[in-house]
Symmetry: C2
Subunit: 95 residues, 2 copies
């Protein structure tokens, strides 16, 4: 299993727009084969920190997601709404 944490620092005046597009991405992605979890979170102290936590069955599922129509269409829009580069980490369970 592969876990991804993608931490976005969204421009203050673009939070609603980011949420709107991210919602669509979440809805479609959850239907993908091999997608175990795909959930957007918001920092309780800093509303502009929006973090996606993802769980994928394996690398194949993740690779399919990365070239999917919804990913390649929506992610560039999200990238345009952030104030600095997204911090992305790909994890395996440590135990």
């Amino acid at each position: 299993m592969i876990t991804i944490v993608a931490k976005h620092f969204v421009k203050e005046d673009k939070i609603s727009e980011f949420l709107e597009h991210a919602k669509k991405l979440v809805e479609i992605t959850r239907k993908e084969q091999g997608c175990i979890k795909y959930q957007l979170y918001q920092d309780i102290k800093d509303a502009k920190i929006l973090t996606m936590i993802e769980e994928w069955q394996d690398k194949d599922a993740l690779d399919r997601h990365s070239v999917s129509e919804h990913f390649t269409k929506i992610v560039p829009i999200l990238v345009g709404l952030v104030e600095k580069q997204t911090e992305m980490n790909i994890y395996k369970k440590a135990e």
Copy 2:
């Protein structure tokens, strides 16, 4: 529900020691009332990035955890093994 992502940057030569203590913390914490998830992850490209993803039922459960004997005993040991300050974010679901 409260979700926590705690990203630790562990000193290169202290990774095994960190894992050993973290394992104990995970084992005991998972038995706590209100603990839904408590899982340690390791970055697949940078082994010294060790991130705990936690889910708690509510703030009361988290508050109890923060003053528990195992937390107050083990966390200071972990803090001594990192090379820079841990990045901690507390999240709510965004949708």
